[in-house]
């Protein structure tokens, strides 16, 4: 299990390759990448991501450990950035490996659902008009119930 919380940008291709190459006997690798998306009106100048340093790593490890108990997984990678990001920058990625693809897909979705609502990160959208904290969505909280 490789869990990293960092401010620096990561190289999606290199991370995915490194993850895929170190899996032995795994038939499937699934990755998901979250990217800073501009607002509908196209006015986002930055996305500021705050986190709770003492808790973030532990919370992510707990979520990844839970995924490994629920699915037959080879390995899990989570990278999540914090600090000031700009539109089109990558915020985070997860990768899962498994002998069969269903485990890898489902575990990746589970990781994303829990990471959105149970890992201590908070996003703030910065525009010319000012800055606003992103409100949590009911749909994200509801997504946890399917697991």
């Amino acid at each position: 299990m490789d869990i990293r919380v960092e401010d620096a940008a990561f190289d999606l291709g290199r991370e995915t390759n490194a993850f895929a190459t170190r899996q032995a006997g795994m038939g499937a690798v699934v990755t998901f990448t979250g990217i800073v998306r501009d607002l509908d009106k196209g006015a986002l100048s930055a996305m500021e991501i705050e986190h709770y340093p003492g808790m973030t790593q532990k919370a992510l490890e707990a979520i990844a450990t839970e995924a490994k108990t629920r699915w037959n997984l080879g390995d899990v990678l989570v990278i999540h950035r914090y600090g000031r990001l700009h539109p089109d920058e990558m915020i985070m990625m997860v990768a899962t490996s498994a002998r069969h693809r269903v485990d890898a897909f489902q575990a990746a979705e589970f990781l994303m659902d829990f990471l959105k609502s149970r890992a201590p990160f908070w996003k703030k959208e910065v525009t010319q008009e000012g800055a606003e904290w992103v409100a949590a969505k009911d749909i994200d909280e509801d997504a946890l119930k399917r697991w």
């Binding site: 709770y52 808790m55 919370a59 915020i91 994303m112 609502s117 201590p120 904290w133």
Partner: protein, 81 residues
């Protein structure tokens, strides 16, 4: 005990951390102590439904005991990913 604030809770309180020398029994007792301090705390804690709490870096409930707790954190619902 250290009390930490994140995101808009931190902004409303005006700083990221307080050190509490009293020994509130539960999270709710701590919240009531804080609200009694100054209007900016009252503003931060006016809607508990919009807040989450962690005790020693684990999510908890507002009626949870603070016995032995070293760090309590208040923050809005998380928006990672």
């Amino acid at each position: 005990m250290d009390v930490l604030y994140f995101a808009w809770v931190r902004e409303r309180v005006g700083h990221p951390k307080d050190r509490i020398e009293t020994n509130p029994a539960t999270v709710m007792d701590l919240v009531n102590d804080l609200r009694a301090r100054e209007p900016r705390y009252e503003a931060a804690f006016s809607d508990l439904g919009a807040l989450r709490v962690a005790i020693d870096q684990e999510l908890a409930d507002f009626d949870a005991s603070l016995a032995g707790a070293r760090e309590v954190a208040f923050f809005p619902p998380m928006t990672g990913g």
